[in-house]
């Protein structure tokens, strides 16, 4: 096997199981999300009509910690699943190293803000 001569080569040859773990995570979270989101759609649009989904009704429902947890699980899993999927695309298609760093930094920052806002919004009700 060729020994790495540069830092780039060394990084390419080093293997951590990070990508393996993300791959497993994508499969499991995807499967869970199918059921969580289908349930969410059912409860929001089929079980009650859209006009019934008022602010007070939603607040009343979210008083129950179980529903808080349900919604927060959707939030966390979709954010992680979606951000990781976008990371795959960024790493595949943004080939310039400085650009990739910038794109990822901005993207992760925005995602973190969205996640924080969602969490704060959910638990401050």
């Amino acid at each position: 096997m060729i020994r790495a001569r540069t830092f780039t080569d060394a990084r390419a040859q080093a293997h951590s199981n990070a990508e393996l773990n993300w791959w497993i995570f994508m499969r499991i979270s995807g499967l869970i999300l199918v059921f969580l989101v289908l349930g969410h759609i059912y409860m929001t649009f089929i079980q009650v009509s859209e006009s019934d989904a008022t602010y007070t009704a939603v607040v009343a429902k979210l008083q129950n910690p179980a529903w808080k947890f349900y919604d927060w699980t959707i939030l966390a899993l979709t954010m992680l699943h979606g951000v990781n999927g976008a990371r795959y695309s960024i790493e595949d298609y943004v080939r310039s190293r400085p650009n990739r760093a910038w794109v990822k930094t901005i993207f992760y920052t925005i995602s973190a803000v969205i996640f924080t806002l969602g969490t704060v919004g959910l638990f401050s009700i």
Binding site: M1, R11, A12, Q13, A14, H15, N17, E19, L20, W22, W23, I24, Y88, E91, D92, Y93, R95
Partner: protein
């Protein structure tokens, strides 16, 4: 004289007229590749390779492309024919173009074009070499052969069909943009040794597959499976290698 024995009515199908549109590039004179069209009259049962040979031998001698055996085994004449990676020697004219239509032929993508349909295959074979494509077994050989059961042979039956034509790797969107990805062909070759019951370097090869440039770059676009002229279920094979890495690491 051979042709005296051929009955006249062999050519029951009338010849077809097609315009063969080839993406040509001469590094000494051209800055960019350009299309050139050659009108050709051929039998529907002719192969695309026959048409290319006709153009090279009788119309445009400077046309450059690789071909060797002409029977779908050497894997030299992979090119993008009618928008899909195929072997020119396995694609029949009637399957890729209608009478009076235009047949486009381009070099395979993702590799540097050296001239016309000829690409630099070095990056492709570098990836192939990286997976240690040779039998490794340090234990002393038995008196006879190293035997495999039919089931064990079946395990690697598909992946050992690969002829390294690069149809799959050069149809992979990840390989187009990211040259450091090993590519489907190298993973199929790795699969051939990983699932060979007689080979002993399984762990080493799985470690290579687990690297940044290995199987985790595959996004299951399925282009490789569609392109393979040997009908290898490549995406399935890559998924099998992913699973093998997972079980090895757990």
């Amino acid at each position: 004289m051979a042709e005296q024995h051929i009955p006249k009515n062999t050519h029951t199908t009338p010849p077809m007229r097609v315009k063969v549109k080839i993406l040509r590039y001469n590094p000494e004179t051209d800055k960019k590749p350009h299309w050139e069209t050659y009108p050709v009259e051929a039998q529907p049962s002719d192969r695309v390779l026959d048409v290319l040979n006709y153009i090279k031998w009788y119309v445009e001698p400077s046309l450059t492309f690789r071909r060797s055996c002409g029977h779908g085994i050497c894997g030299s004449d992979a090119m993008m024919i009618a928008g899909r990676n195929r072997l020119a020697c396995k694609a029949l004219l009637r399957d890729v173009v209608k009478d009076g239509g235009t047949l486009t032929i381009e070099p395979i993508r993702g590799l540097k074009v050296e001239k016309d349909l000829l690409t630099d295959m070095e990056p492709f074979f570098d990836a192939y070499k990286a997976i240690m494509p040779y039998f490794i077994n340090e234990s002393p050989p038995p008196a006879g052969e190293r035997l495999q059961s039919p089931e064990q042979a079946e395990r690697m039956a598909h992946s050992s069909n690969c002829i390294l034509c690069a149809c799959c790797t050069t149809s992979c969107p990840i390989f187009w943009v990211n040259g450091s990805y090993l590519g489907p062909a190298a993973i199929v070759q790795a699969h051939r040794f990983i699932f060979d019951s007689r080979d002993e370097a399984t762990n080493q090869r799985l470690n290579i597959m687990n690297q940044n440039t290995g199987v985790w770059r595959c996004r299951t676009a399925y282009n490789c499976t569609e392109a393979c002229p040997r009908d290898i279920p490549i995406t399935t094979i890559i998924e099998e290698v992913k699973r093998a890495v997972m079980y090895q690491q757990s």
